[in-house]
Symmetry: C2
């Protein structure tokens, strides 16, 4: 994904850093960076007792009504992406098809805070099957549920397909803003200036 965006030179993420930032927060889900994992299975998803132990801030969205039978899905990395969703019952055959990362955001012009969508990714063999839409609506629905007023994200200006998709879903494309990012040595140097 970093490669896709020409950002592999700034890529410093490790498995440990991802794990610490996303899954070890003391905050409840969606109050700090949170990943939504999109998992699919040919079988209905089991409602395990484990789910009831989860934070009431997030109830897994289980959709058994998506008929994918007519789609030709051929996942070359099926075993690699086998999920631990139902680890005790390996018959379940649950696979990871994508993910989205969000964190709470704030914009001084708006009455209510929002969610900032940092990453949305659907694995190549699962594209064109409305999974992106499903992830987006899960995020929008979560924002609504938390009394938030917006969902923000960035898109590359050359990515016409995505821009069309976003505009069709009712998102406002704001052409005038550009991202600035201070990091690495430059951040350290600038931080010293306040000493």
């Amino acid at each position: 994904m970093a490669e896709y965006h020409g950002l592999s030179e700034i890529f410093t993420t490790t498995e440990t850093s991802l794990c610490n930032n996303l899954f070890k927060s003391s905050n409840p889900p969606f109050h700090s960076p949170t990943a939504l994992i999109l998992e699919i299975s040919p079988n209905p998803f089991p409602i395990t007792t484990k789910l009831s132990d989860l934070s009431t801030n997030f109830i897994p969205i289980i959709k058994n009504n998506c008929n994918l039978d007519n789609l030709e899905i051929s996942d070359p990395e099926l075993e690699t992406f086998k999920s631990k969703f139902n680890g005790e019952n390996n018959n379940c055959n649950v696979y990871v098809a994508g993910h989205v990362i969000v964190f709470p955001s704030y914009n001084g012009f708006f009455e209510k805070p929002g969610l900032y969508l940092d990453q949305m990714f659907v694995r190549k063999c699962y594209r064109g099957m409305r999974f992106g839409k499903m992830l987006f609506s899960a995020v929008a629905s979560q924002a609504e549920k938390m009394g938030m007023g917006m969902v923000d994200w960035l898109v590359a200006d050359w990515n016409e397909e995505s821009i069309n998709f976003y505009e069709k879903m009712g998102a406002h494309y704001i052409p005038e803003y550009r991202l600035c990012k201070l990091y690495g040595d430059q951040l350290q140097q600038y931080a010293k200036k306040s000493d």
Copy 2:
């Protein structure tokens, strides 16, 4: 500021919403939306006992070494912007000159989280006095102190002066991203799609 960005039609902020979002969080400063207020005074700032009661996450940055004597400052709204910094001792003459709003952010490509700078504002009569630099370096320094790896913000593409300022300070200007924002009726409609 919303007017300046042509965004007055989306402006829904109220005094109550600002207060709730910025000053009533149960999180310590910088772990949720946080405002840094830039205050100036012709007298040295008092170190009141109150300061020691504040969260250890943030120690007010007191700079008594900025000589502004040679600057012609004429603040037409001086009384309106009189600060409550030292409410018990009104001789202090502390005035609000600007502010910055930040909240914690996360980028999946980076090992460490960061701060997202939502708003920076220096009142007109205090511009060109390096206060913007002071606010930015306070934010960079805070990010460093919290073990963060970046500071992100948006700039309007027509704002050449700011872009030059940001590039001079070592920020990376990333021209390809555009902001998308889902809010209002569109957010509600899209949220329903996940039902």
